[in-house]
């Protein structure tokens, strides 16, 4: 019975509302009691949200009570709830514009913050559904491995109690209607024990399931079981036609609980990672083990594991000389699960939460200013109350009552808004973020919304209350407030306006930098023309195409038939689709290249293509020729290389006619017959690497599955998708087709996260700017309104209207200018956090800074000038008459 780390953090944060002595003495006990309350509600999001809500009220109410003399508290509570809140509600009802503006401002801020926090919670904080997930780690995730390497980690690193290799594998399910491509994860038999997860039906893998030939079993993910088997309770024991990974069919032995299939990939099924256990490291050819997940041994720490991984990596490297770069060996680490999975994105998400918090703060300052102004207009009412015997405390409570009512309504609006925003984020958020599809308004997110609302109410309500508490009500009875004495805005208002401008500058600079960076990324030419290209992936089941010849022949037929479709210009194939993250990189031995002493064997990216690929994707062949249909196994082995390959290994030389081999220097020699232009296969951020393109018909191993790319004449290649499917199924209706998409969109996916973060920050920047403009507008409108009489006198005495407006605007100028200055200083000191998200510009890019300052100054001046101009349109005679 304990709280998850996020829950504990949130609850402890809430306890900070209580007096320190109480927290110190009882903090642990209170957390324990709260955990017991939450435990009872687990299983129902609604009940958990209810418990959080009760805990917030419990903490807020009793933190106030502990600070009020015991005997006064009950009476005070009743007075506040029974009287002040009702008065506030009534008086707000009489000023609907004020009420609406305040509620909208807070609602927007709270909604945006809550939605952003739901992403933070789902991606970065929510506990994985495993036993003790903080003790799960990735071992040496920087390199690929084989099964023996994973076993060695378990033997040599005593800080680990179990290690499972992980490898993504595509399987094919037939015999259940349309053929389906299935996303499989190859794992060790003890994988689920390591995670601490038990199946909801059936059993886990038997201990010998990883031995060659014993692994014809499969465990289904909950989602897959529901989708494909209609939640069939009899599924365990069924033999299904699941081809791939050396088997034609497998027996279903279990179904896992929901939620554990979306962590490092969308997994449909788990199958055993098979292979001999007693092979030497060099003889084990299962080099497709992408990750190793492990559990820390009881009592062992992450530091100990990290201390042991260096010796392990060194031992592996010694057995495999030349296999790893020296930096890979010395830089070997053990990484916590969550930290590793979110390493590229965590910083950006926290930045987004920081930015939206600033936006919320701007909103709070707006409401504080509105309340201040309202306090001024109600000063006569307050003065009468004071004269009739009301204490100052009562007046303060009336003002806080206003803030509380606005806060409750704004919070409710914010939660509704967040509910819609969260749906939007789940739909459009980049799929590579773990957990992004599961964002939602759950207990902790609602608790956050309540916490934020409470803080917003305090920030917005305290300034006016503070002012009254210091004696701001006394002027009320002295006559109509002319407001032309002293500082035109009042010191508190000036500080609030200046702070708003400063915060808005900080957020806007962040948005501006991200926008310019995205602009730079989009301007990078990928070297591939994907707009009119349709991509798809037919995966022939192994049981129907057991030998490499029939497998390759199948693709020949697909290319031939799709080429014959009307509107298709060129068709080709490639084993790894550009724009996707997978990569094969092999040791290469270019003719005449001498490896520098002590350096490992160089590597280059490996691609197997089918004739027509370069024509279909528009990658130019600069010299020589492309791969052709004649480059078959019985012809001279050929290869094409890219410009970077030539610059790296044969600088200044003509590559045509040279040869290279892969893996070993004595392997098959491939002659270079063409030079192709560089492309950005993995997106604009990654520099181009040396690349080798082979004919897939000349690869000396099992046949490779191919992505097919078809260039069409029409602007919309997707229009041809159905015709392509039908054509491919004419060849064989049992071959699943997956990944049907426009190539340009696949390439776009490489920048999806950057675009998502950019649009998020841009939206926050726009909101900050708008709220700031509203704030300056509101304050100037209010102060100009109060100076109408003064304007009238000055106009009557011959002053020009421009002069009057200029004098009104100049008084708002001070806070705006100071805000611009402070905001610029604030941005200079914080934009470094954005550095890793930026491309092609510096965090202190002067153009962005200058543009933001100019725009903010213009918006601020305009927001001040418009209401001043309206106020100056008074009729001097009428104003003087009313005096």
């Amino acid at each position: 019975m304990s709280l998850g780390p996020t829950e504990a953090r949130l609850y402890r944060a809430m306890l900070r509302l209580l007096p320190r002595d109480m927290r110190r003495r009882f903090g642990h006990d209170m957390t324990e009691l709260f955990a017991a309350r939450l435990q009872r509600a687990r299983g129902s999001a609604l009940r958990m949200a209810g418990v959080w809500l009760r805990a917030v009220f419990d903490t807020v109410e009793h933190s106030l009570a502990t600070r009020t003399p015991k005997r006064d508290w009950e009476g005070w509570t009743m007075g506040f709830i029974g009287q002040d809140l009702r008065t506030s509600i009534r008086s707000l009802g009489r000023s609907p514009v004020f009420a609406l503006a305040s509620v909208l401002t807070l609602g927007l801020g709270i909604g945006a913050s809550t939605a952003t926090f739901s992403v933070v919670h789902s991606v970065l904080l929510e506990e994985f559904p495993f036993e003790d997930p903080d003790r799960l780690v990735f071992v040496w995730p920087e390199v690929n491995a084989n099964k023996t390497m994973a076993l060695m980690a378990e033997e040599r690193m005593t800080a680990l109690s179990g290690v499972s290799g992980l490898s993504n594998w595509t399987l094919t399910l037939t015999g259940l209607g349309e053929p389906v491509e299935v996303s499989g994860l190859l794992v060790s038999p003890d994988y689920f024990e390591i995670l601490g997860v038990s199946p909801v039906m059936g059993r886990s893998f038997p201990a010998d399931a990883d031995l060659p030939g014993s692994g014809n079993v499969v465990i289904l993910s909950h989602d897959f079981w529901v989708r494909l088997f209609g939640s069939d309770p009899q599924v365990v024991g069924r033999v299904i036609e699941l081809g791939g990974g050396g088997h034609e069919s497998r027996e279903v032995i279990g179904v896992m609980p929901p939620g554990i299939d979306k962590l490092w990939a969308d997994v449909d099924v788990w199958v055993p990672l098979e292979g001999e256990r007693s092979l030497g490291l060099a003889d084990d050819n299962t080099w497709y083990v992408n990750e190793r997940v492990a559990r820390l041994a009881p009592g062992a720490t992450l530091e100990q594991a990290n201390g042991q991984v260096a010796a392990y990596a060194r031992a592996v490297a010694d057995e495999l000389p030349g296999h790893f770069e020296e930096e890979e060996v010395t830089g070997a680490t053990v990484q916590p699960l969550r930290g590793y999975l979110t390493r590229d994105i965590a910083g950006s998400i926290w930045i987004a939460l920081g930015a939206v918090s600033l936006v919320l703060l701007i909103g709070c300052f707006n409401v504080a200013n509105l309340l201040l102004a309202r306090g001024e207009t109600r000063s006569k009412d307050f003065a009468v109350r004071v004269a009739l015997g009301a204490g100052r405390q009562r007046i303060v409570m009336l003002l806080i009552g206003d803030a509380v009512v606005i806060g409750i309504l704004g919070g409710a609006l914010g939660v509704l808004l967040a509910h819609r925003l969260v749906q939007l984020v789940a739909a459009v958020g980049p799929s590579e973020l773990p957990g992004i599809g599961d964002v939602g308004l759950n207990g902790p997110v609602i608790a956050y919304a309540l916490l934020v609302t409470t803080i917003a109410v305090l920030v917005a309500g305290l300034a006016p209350a503070f002012r009254v508490a210091r004696g701001g009500t006394t002027a009320g009875l002295r006559g109509t407030a002319r407001g032309s004495r002293g500082h035109p805005l009042g010191p508190v208002t000036s500080v609030l306006v200046g702070s708003q401008v400063a915060l808005a500058v900080m957020v806007a600079v962040g948005s501006g930098l991200m926008l310019r960076s995205l602009d730079g990324l989009m301007a990078v030419d990928p070297g591939i023309e994907g707009d009119r290209v349709l991509a798809f992936r037919p995966t022939p089941p192994q049981n129907r195409y057991p030998d490499p010849e029939s497998y390759r022949d199948y693709y020949s037929q697909v290319i031939e038939r799709v080429s014959a479709l009307p509107g298709v210009d060129a068709v080709g194939g490639i084993n790894l689709m550009p724009g996707r993250l997978d990569n094969w990189s092999f040791p290469t031995h270019p003719e005449g290249y001498v490896v520098p002493a002590g350096a490992p064997t160089p590597v280059a990216n490996f691609r197997a293509v089918r004739s027509g690929y370069f024509q279909a994707t528009g990658i130019p062949v600069l010299t020589g020729r492309a791969i052709s249909g004649a480059d078959r196994s019985n012809a001279e082995p050929v290869v094409l290389v890219n410009e970077t390959f030539v610059e790296t290994f044969w600088p200044g030389e003509d590559p045509l006619g040279k040869t290279l081999s892969i893996f070993s220097a004595s392997g098959t020699s491939y002659q270079v017959v063409g030079l192709v232009a560089d492309t950005r296969q993995h997106g604009p951020r990654r520099e181009t690497q040396p690349e080798m393109y082979f004919s897939d018909l000349q690869i000396p191993w099992d046949a490779l599955s191919l992505w097919i790319v078809a260039r069409v004449r029409d602007d919309d290649p997707m229009a041809l998708a159905q015709a392509v499917r039908e054509t491919v199924w004419e060849i064989d209706p049992d071959v699943p087709i997956s990944g049907v998409s426009r190539l340009a969109e696949v390439l776009n996916e490489t920048t999806a996260t950057t675009r998502f973060m950019t649009w998020l920050l841009t939206a926050f920047g726009a909101l900050a700017l708008a709220l700031c403009a509203i704030g300056v507008f509101g304050v100037t409108a209010y102060s100009s309104g109060r100076r109408k009489a003064e304007f009238g006198v000055r106009l009557a005495l011959g002053a020009s209207r421009v002069g009057v407006v200029a004098s009104a605007v100049s008084r708002s100028l001070g806070p705006i200018l100071i805000g611009l200055l402070l905001g610029t200083v604030g941005a200079v000191s914080t934009t470094d956090y954005l550095a890793s998200s930026l491309y092609g510009i510096e965090p202190r890019d002067p153009v962005t800074f200058a543009a933001v300052v100019v725009v903010m100054a213009a918006v601020g001046l305009l927001a001040a000038a418009v209401p001043a101009w309206r106020a100056s349109r008074v009729d001097p005679v009428r104003v003087l008459g009313s005096e």
Binding site: L15, L18, D21, M22, R25, F26, H28, D29, M30, T31, E32, L33, F34, A36, R37, R54, A55, D58, T59, E61, H62, S63, A65, T66, K70
Partner: protein, 113 residues
């Protein structure tokens, strides 16, 4: 802090329940709550700040005192025990309530409805 039991009356109902829950010996928050909820199902769900605000107040009034955790117990927990004054107040509150109920019974409240 008055040492006269009468000065502490009437007790807040939750404070009274807490005193009753530690009559048998030292206890801590979660166990006190379990004890109260087990005896009296209609009491409603108790939340931490409410409970500990009352315990803190009873400690400062001298009706409870902090005690060292029993052998083998979790040392992070705060154990409290009833002071002699606390026991006196519990007795006095019980007598007060009993008199109150007797008074109500004389009016035959339950029979008349």
């Amino acid at each position: 802090m008055s040492t006269c039991a009468e000065d502490h009356l009437p007790l807040h109902p939750l404070e009274f329940r807490i005193l009753l829950a530690v009559l048998d010996g030292p206890s801590y928050g979660l166990r006190i709550v379990e004890e109260i909820e087990a005896r009296e199902r209609s009491v409603g769900t108790l939340y931490p700040a409410n409970l500990y605000r009352r315990i803190r107040s009873l400690l400062s009034d001298g009706l409870l005192a902090e005690s060292s955790p029993p052998e083998g117990a979790d040392t992070r927990r705060t154990y409290v025990l009833l002071t002699p004054l606390g026991r006196e107040v519990a007795v006095a509150e019980t007598a007060r309530l009993r008199d109150l109920v007797a008074e109500a019974e004389r009016y035959e409240v339950l029979d008349g409805s």
